[in-house]
């Protein structure tokens, strides 16, 4: 089995989950899955549960550069991408890159930015390059955007339209930590300082190698593709869903299922991998019909999954 750098990746998850991000193992794992499959993650939860800490710790542990964008309604696209300013000494415009030119970018409260800014950001996420005044600047790899949004707040927000939600590989909550862990966190206080001293556990090369191992080393069988397609097709034919998982969504599910299998130590994907990532990868892509808008998308997708037989042979 050729699962290069798997041990290192597990080490990152382990270290973060046990020492720095207690009780957030699921979010950490999903972030790593998003990173390995080359996607971005949207953390949807109330403030104060450690979304920023998670992004920060992940960037540190992965030995990657970290940029942060705090979204407000007056944030301009150039505040993210950067802009050319006139250099008086050299008598010409030089490009000053924005926070997007980092490996890990935390976009806090993305739904507070104006749609124009949002779309500039999402375009950069998708294309992995930024064009400013005719010049195209490539973004560094590996590239992981961790966006957060507060689902409760309604005033002064510009909710991401479904078409843009589709661009996030993974959407997840963080949730409150278990009570014992939370008490320990309260007692120990914020760990931001600890994170500052966190030494990188892997290099950018390791990450690239792991990404390649996921992409090329994990086998996705026809059986599992059939299963995956059945799920996708079922969401498209479901009476409560007006538009189901897109082809991009299906690709995303396949990629993340491979990353999941990689972390589990298998060089082939099993239906359970698909089931494990289906809700974080698929649920936010569902568009419900008007009368069923209040349904929980995750539960709905789970119901769809429970009705589909797993191919056993």
């Amino acid at each position: 089995m050729n699962l290069a750098k798997r041990a290192e990746m597990l080490h990152v998850i382990d270290t973060l989950a046990t020492h720095y991000l207690k009780g957030k193992v699921r979010a950490v794992r999903l972030s790593v899955i998003a990173l390995l499959s080359g996607g971005h993650i949207l953390l949807e939860d109330i403030p104060g549960l450690g979304k920023t800490t998670l992004a920060l710790a992940l960037a540190k542990a992965l030995g990657l550069s970290f940029g942060r964008v705090q979204c407000t309604s007056d944030l301009l696209p150039t505040d993210i991408t950067g802009l050319s300013i006139f250099n008086r000494e050299e008598s010409r415009f030089t490009f000053v890159s924005g926070p997007i030119f980092n490996n890990v970018v935390l976009v806090d409260e993305i739904n507070r930015a104006m749609p124009k800014t949002q779309s500039a950001l999402l375009e950069a996420m998708e294309e992995r390059k930024v064009t400013v005044e005719g010049t195209t600047h490539h973004l560094p790899g590996p590239f992981l955007v961790i966006a957060t949004q507060n689902p409760v707040e309604q005033v002064g927000t510009y909710p991401l339209p479904e078409s843009q939600l589709d661009r996030f590989m993974v959407r997840s909550g963080i949730g409150y930590p278990p009570d014992i862990i939370e008490k320990a966190i309260i007692k120990g206080g914020s760990i931001r300082d600890g994170i500052q001293s966190l030494e990188p556990l892997v290099s950018a090369n390791d990450i690239a190698e792991a990404q390649r191992a996921v992409k090329e080393g994990v086998y996705l069988s026809d059986t599992v593709v059939d299963y995956l397609y059945t799920i996708v097709a079922a969401t498209r034919n479901h009476p409560a869903i007006s538009s189901g998982i897109s082809t991009r969504g299906a690709i995303g599910m396949a990629e993340t299922a491979k990353a999941h299998a990689y972390l589990e130590g298998r060089d082939y994907v099993i239906p359970e991998d698909v089931k494990a990532i289906a809700v974080p990868v698929g649920a936010h892509r569902l568009i419900l019909t008007m009368e069923n808008e209040n349904l929980d998308k995750g539960e709905l997708l789970n119901a769809v999954l429970n009705a589909i037989p797993v191919p056993l042979a």
Partner: protein, 644 residues
């Protein structure tokens, strides 16, 4: 705190012992010894939590004993092998793990064994055993429902007492009901809900008077009048004699109150014994094949004309044995009171009287006169019918000269009138003619619509000769032959069921049941399996079709070795861990996470490594997987506490 599982186990041992003790004196020595050994071994193994005999050893023992006792099974010895085998099965169950399934089997087998003991001896102790066993089983079953929800459930003494109280209330509540039904059921001779209707009030059928010309039609009443158990006879012998009408009054024939002193000699002919089971009715005449000589089994009085009347004693179901001689004539060597049997009705029409001359010219003998009347009667071409009948005050005249159709009463009364006019003493005999022979029960079922009236003419030298004028009808054959279609067979089968039910349950009587079993035994002994060689190809073809369809079904159900392995894997997991196999949206790895069993995990890894890599299992992998399946659950048995 009392653990439910150990309580159930103790109860199961008690129930098994209660099943064994009553049959112990009747089983083979080896079996008698095997049970206590298994009992002790079971307790020992339960303590150790190890069950070395599970699976193949148990199956082998069971199969061996099954073969041994199956060979011993015969009609002469039907009970002993079965009971022996029950005890063996019970012993095997005791040494194995007490899973809910095994426990239920123990309860059932113990009950069967106890029931089997009643085949050897029926003492009142049986009831004690039965009530004890029922009580214990009721408690165990209730506890078992708790056990199936949570195998490690423990009950406090108080809640345990409540559970046992409620569990015992169920059989206790059913006992009075049971007793009431036991008292009521065997004694009811009629369906319980119909007891308000007086039985035997039927519009048509057998009656104690012959009144032609009173109704324009008679209906077909297919209710059974009686059933008679006897050998199968020819159609012409099936005259069931009931009543003799010797007096005409107007157009009505009745039985005179006058008892004639008539000494008949014993008729000669084939003697037939019948056991007759009449349906309840108000009619007090006992029916039997013509000519009945003797009727036993019921208090009855016999008249000189072979009419048997039942003495009134309740109106329940009865059963009697009759001995009859099949003959067409009853000899009366000392003669009869001719004038009594020559008495004519007050009014005889001129047309009828005019016929007399034809019959009597030349002072012929009785025999000759009878022949002349018969010949004349035959020539007329009368038709038999049960509808469109004349309603008239002089039915004989109307029948003979106007309508020329009628049923047996018209035929018989006209013929008898003619005979008396011709100077031949004649009387009518009422009863039934024919019957449907039921091959299953070996009896004739005679329905009400077979009620019949015929004539007996006195011929000097021969005695009373039976003449059936209805047989002179031009359409006689058609009216008496019955169809033997499929529906008739079904009816016969249902009827025989009713018959057995009446015999075995309604008229419950131990002596009768013993006879019944003996008779059944005789019948089965006489049963030979003579194979018609012409049927052989058909039988072979049928066998081939069966084999093919079985092969086809199995081939379809598990087409590939993979599917077969998967099936047995899922079945094994279901058996050991109780995880239902038909949960289709669950993957195998999920299954492996649910159970803490390395064998399952290894199986799932090997399986997934092939199936989810789009390749088939290699031969080596198949072999390996099959081995792994057999080891599933081994770890669990060694460490029962591991799950907790």
């Amino acid at each position: 705190m009392v653990p439910v599982s150990s309580l159930i186990t103790v109860l199961a041992y008690a129930v098994a012992a209660l099943g064994y003790l009553p049959v112990a004196p009747h089983v083979d020595l080896a079996v008698r010894l095997a049970f206590p050994l298994a009992f002790a071994a079971g307790i020992f193994l339960d303590r150790k939590g190890k069950y070395p005999f599970t699976g193949i050893p148990s199956t082998v023992v069971t199969v061996i004993f099954f073969v041994v006792y199956f060979m011993q099974l015969s009609m002469a010895n039907p009970a002993a092998p079965v009971v022996n085998f029950f005890v063996v099965l019970l012993s095997v169950r005791l040494v194995n793990e007490k899973t809910p399934r095994n426990l239920l089997q123990i309860f059932a087998l113990a009950l069967f064994a106890l029931a089997g003991s009643s085949l050897f001896s029926l003492s009142a102790v049986f009831l004690v055993y039965l009530f004890l066993q029922l009580g214990l089983i009721a408690v165990s079953l209730v506890l078992l429902t708790f056990h199936s929800v949570d195998a490690r459930l423990r009950l406090t003494r108080r809640s345990l007492a409540r559970v046992i109280g409620v569990a015992l209330a169920m059989p206790a509540a059913s006992v009075p009901l049971l007793l009431i039904f036991f008292v009521i059921l065997p004694r009811t001779q009629y369906p319980l809900l119909n007891f308000l209707n007086v039985p035997g009030e039927r519009a048509t059928g057998f009656s104690d008077r012959v009144e032609p010309g009173k109704a324009s039609s008679i209906g077909d009443v297919k209710t059974v009048a009686f059933r008679a158990e006897c050998e199968q006879l020819g159609r012409n012998d099936l005259y069931w004699r009931g009543i003799v009408f010797d007096t005409i009054s107007g157009a009505t024939w009745v039985r005179s109150g006058k008892r004639l002193v008539e000494v008949s000699a014993t008729p000669r002919g084939k003697t037939i014994r019948q056991v007759v089971y009449p349906e309840p009715s108000r009619n007090s005449y006992l029916l039997a094949l013509d000519v009945p000589l003797q009727i036993d089994g019921v208090r009855a009085s016999q008249d000189a004309d072979f009419t048997f009347t039942r003495r009134p004693s309740g109106s329940g179901r009865i059963r009697y044995e009759a001995r009859s001689v099949l003959t067409g004539a009853i000899p009366v060597p000392r003669g009869i009171d001719r004038s009594h049997y020559l008495r004519l009705p007050g009014r005889v029409s001129a047309r009828i009287a005019a016929l007399t001359g034809e019959f009597t010219v030349g002072s012929p003998t009785d025999e000759e006169r009878l022949n002349r009347v018969e010949t004349w009667f035959r020539r007329q071409g009368f038709r038999y019918a049960t509808s469109g009948l004349p309603v008239t005050a002089d039915p004989v005249d109307t029948f003979l000269f106007v309508r020329r159709t009628g049923h047996c009463e018209f035929f018989a009364s006209s013929f008898a009138t003619l005979l008396r006019l011709a100077g031949v003493p004649a009387r009518l005999v009422g009863g039934y003619y024919g019957g449907d022979y039921n091959d299953v029960g070996g009896y004739y079922a005679v329905t009400e619509d077979r009620a019949h009236v015929w004539v007996e003419a006195f011929v000097k030298g021969r005695g009373w000769v039976r003449v059936d004028p209805s047989s002179f009808a031009s359409n006689f054959d058609r009216t008496t032959t019955s169809s033997r279609g499929f529906a008739t067979k079904i009816t016969a089968l249902l009827d025989s069921f009713t018959w057995y039910w009446n015999q075995a349950v309604i008229t419950y009587d131990l002596q009768k049941q013993v006879d019944f079993i003996r008779r059944a035994n005789r019948q089965f002994k006489g049963l030979s399996l003579a194979l018609d060689p012409r049927l052989l190809p058909q039988a072979l073809a049928l066998a081939a079709v069966l084999t093919l369809s079985v092969w086809w079904i199995t081939a379809r159900s598990g087409r590939t070795p993979e599917e077969r392995i998967l099936r047995s894997f899922l079945a094994r997991v279901e058996k050991v861990y109780g995880i239902p196999r038909n949960h289709r949206s669950r993957g195998l790895h999920e299954l492996a996470h649910m159970v803490d069993d390395s064998a399952v995990a290894i199986f799932v890894d090997i399986w997934g490594g092939a199936i989810y890599r789009d390749r088939r299992l290699s031969r080596e992998e198949c072999r390996q997987l099959k081995q792994i399946i057999n080891t599933i659950g081994d770890g669990r048995r060694k460490e029962p506490g591991k799950q907790g």
